[in-house]
């Protein structure tokens, strides 16, 4: 149910993001989803890629600090109130969204959104009970 996400620490310097994407591109790694959180000094790039282990390895070889986090990918109805209905389930149980971002790819009529929760296992349990579709890791890497 969980999806492996890479994160990379980036100083706010021209060309750093380009470098990460080039390193991955040269290694034949495809980026499935990404988000960049930034402050005045640094940024944190979060990535979901098709080849997790290989991506971690090439980034480390190029001197990047790479972190690993588990996230979930949910299928959210692509209509008004679609996201709200999913979030409702979680807020009712006091589960916080640490961050979220949308997937690059659309799957049918619905959107795919990546979530990081403060209590991942509990969130998965609740969402499953409510019949929300959670993608398996392998599905996401191949989407």
């Amino acid at each position: 149910m969980k999806v492996k996400q890479l994160s990379v620490f980036l100083e706010n310097k021209a060309g750093r993001l380009a470098e990460v994407t080039k390193v991955l591109g040269d290694a034949g790694i495809n980026i499935r989803a990404l988000s960049l959180a930034d402050t005045t000094d640094f940024g944190i790039l979060r990535l979901i890629v098709d080849q997790y282990d290989q991506a971690t390895q090439v980034l480390k070889q190029h001197g990047f600090t790479v972190g690993r986090t588990e996230v979930v990918a949910l299928e959210v109805p692509d209509r008004p109130g679609g996201l709200a209905s999913v979030l409702q389930i979680l807020s009712a149980s006091q589960i916080n969204v640490e961050y979220m971002y949308a997937f690059v790819h659309h799957s049918g009529k619905n959107a795919v959104i990546i979530f990081r929760f403060n209590n991942l296992d509990r969130a998965i349990e609740l969402l499953q009970q409510q019949g929300v579709h959670i993608f398996k890791g392998q599905e996401v890497y191949r989407l």
Partner: protein, 433 residues
């Protein structure tokens, strides 16, 4: 292990008798042979015959780096050039280097003192030493090299640089002892990690690190990462080079000064008064046996204190505490004295934080600003902005609490702070004062 049992464990009275005899001979000699010393003695109204006791040393004037510069390059040598067999020089932060010379006997003395240091650190004849101190004008490389040979162990003269090749040699040659600067030791371990290698798998068991001040916390970090006993060695080219003092493996509590060859004093750098044992101030050293380049009361600019308590290793020699910085490394930020080593101690309290840091001092609208750049590594990195900001704020708060100065902490990427293969440059002062 004690290399020279006789001299390293002399009873205090016997040691002081030797010191006094050597001091009086030294003063006679420099007065007769080095015009710069004669002039300084005359200006201070002191003559060689005034030195009757060890305490009379305090009547002699100090020697400073400026004196050495004024007599560049060979003006302070006390022997004719045909007796000098080696020249070393230390890079000056400004202008010309400081040049020092050695007679054959000086080289022998130095080799013995480095051999003593190695033995104190637990090095034996069957050890292999990977010597990554720079070879050349810098005293580190050749100083250790000769000491290892004197001890009878094997030296690999790797010198600095070419880190990847060094890792290969560490792996293939299986040295048991590493000698280099503490920051280079950590750099080696980082690079090894990148190559998928673990220092714990190497045969290293002892590291003798010096040439820059480092903290107790950094020692622990090095010992953990490199899997060896890390010991501090002290020396400076103006006095001799490495081997002036060293920690013993038994206590790791202060560096034993080779007092049969040097007299150490601690002074208040402002009033120039000699401070009693235990008090912290500037370390001043007089060489007792150097022939080519003796120094009288040389102001090292290094901050330390002296401890006369006998050590459990059996040496009766006075110990100096690990350097807490240099008088000229000290920065004054909005009136507060800051030593890089203090910042380092704060950083090392944060679990997993890499001890690679740099202080940037600047002046903005007449106000001094201090920025502490510190590298993020995998242990401290989080994909949540909030946690990274908490890390920055936490360090800022600790710096404020411990040092009483506000600093801006800036997390930077690994390897973005330049690594030096000699002394790490910890401070960049951009103030135009």
């Amino acid at each position: 292990m004690i290399f020279n049992e006789e001299f390293e464990t002399l009873p205090r009275a016997a040691l002081e008798a030797i010191q006094l005899r050597r001091l009086r001979a030294l003063v006679d000699r420099v007065y007769a042979l080095v015009p710069a010393y004669r002039q300084k003695f005359e200006a201070a109204g002191v003559r060689p015959e005034d030195i009757q006791t060890l305490k009379d040393l305090q009547r002699l004037p100090f020697t400073t780096k400026q004196d050495l510069r004024d007599n560049y390059p060979f003006g302070m040598f006390a022997v004719p050039m045909e007796q000098v067999v080696r020249i070393h020089a230390s890079s000056g932060t400004t202008g010309k280097p400081t040049v020092v010379g050695y007679t054959l006997r000086d080289i022998q003395t130095w080799s013995e003192l480095v051999a003593r240091s190695l033995a104190a650190a637990g090095v034996h004849r069957h050890d292999i030493i990977h010597n990554a101190y720079g070879y050349g004008l810098f005293t580190g490389g050749l100083g250790f090299h000769y000491g290892v040979e004197r001890l009878g162990a094997s030296v690999i003269p790797v010198s600095g640089g070419n880190t990847r090749r060094q890792i290969m040699l560490l792996q293939d040659f299986g040295p048991t002892v590493l000698t280099c600067t503490p920051s280079f030791a950590l750099h080696l371990s980082d690079v090894a990690q990148d190559l998928g290698l673990n220092f714990q798998d190497f045969k290293l068991r002892v590291g003798i690190f010096g040439a820059e001040p480092w903290s107790e916390a950094m020692r622990q970090e090095i010992e953990k990462k490199l899997g060896l006993d890390a010991l501090d060695v002290y020396g400076l080219s103006e006095v001799m080079g490495p081997g002036v003092s060293v920690e013993c493996q038994e206590a790791k509590q202060g560096l034993h000064i080779a007092e049969d060859h040097f007299i150490a004093e601690i002074i208040d750098p402002h009033t120039l008064e000699v401070l009693p044992y235990g008090q912290t101030g500037e370390l001043v050293i007089t060489t007792l046996t150097k022939e080519a380049f003796p120094v009288i009361r040389y102001r090292t600019r290094d901050i330390s204190s002296l401890n006369p308590e006998p050590c459990k290793c059996g040496r009766n020699l006075v110990r100096m505490t690990r350097l807490s910085g240099r008088t000229d490394d000290m920065i004054i930020v909005r009136g507060v004295n800051v030593f890089p080593s203090q910042i380092e101690a704060v950083l090392m309290e944060v679990r997993g934080l890499a001890p690679h840091y740099q202080l940037i001092v600047d002046r903005l609208n007449q106000m001094d600003t201090l920025e502490v750049q510190v590298e993020v590594d995998e242990a401290t990195f989080s994909d949540e902005v909030r946690k990274m900001q908490q890390l920055e704020k936490g360090i800022e708060k600790n710096i404020k609490d411990y040092l009483g100065v506000s600093a801006k902490v800036r997390l930077v990427e690994p390897r973005s702070i330049p690594r030096s293969e000699g002394k790490a440059q910890r401070v960049i002062d951009r103030r135009q004062i």
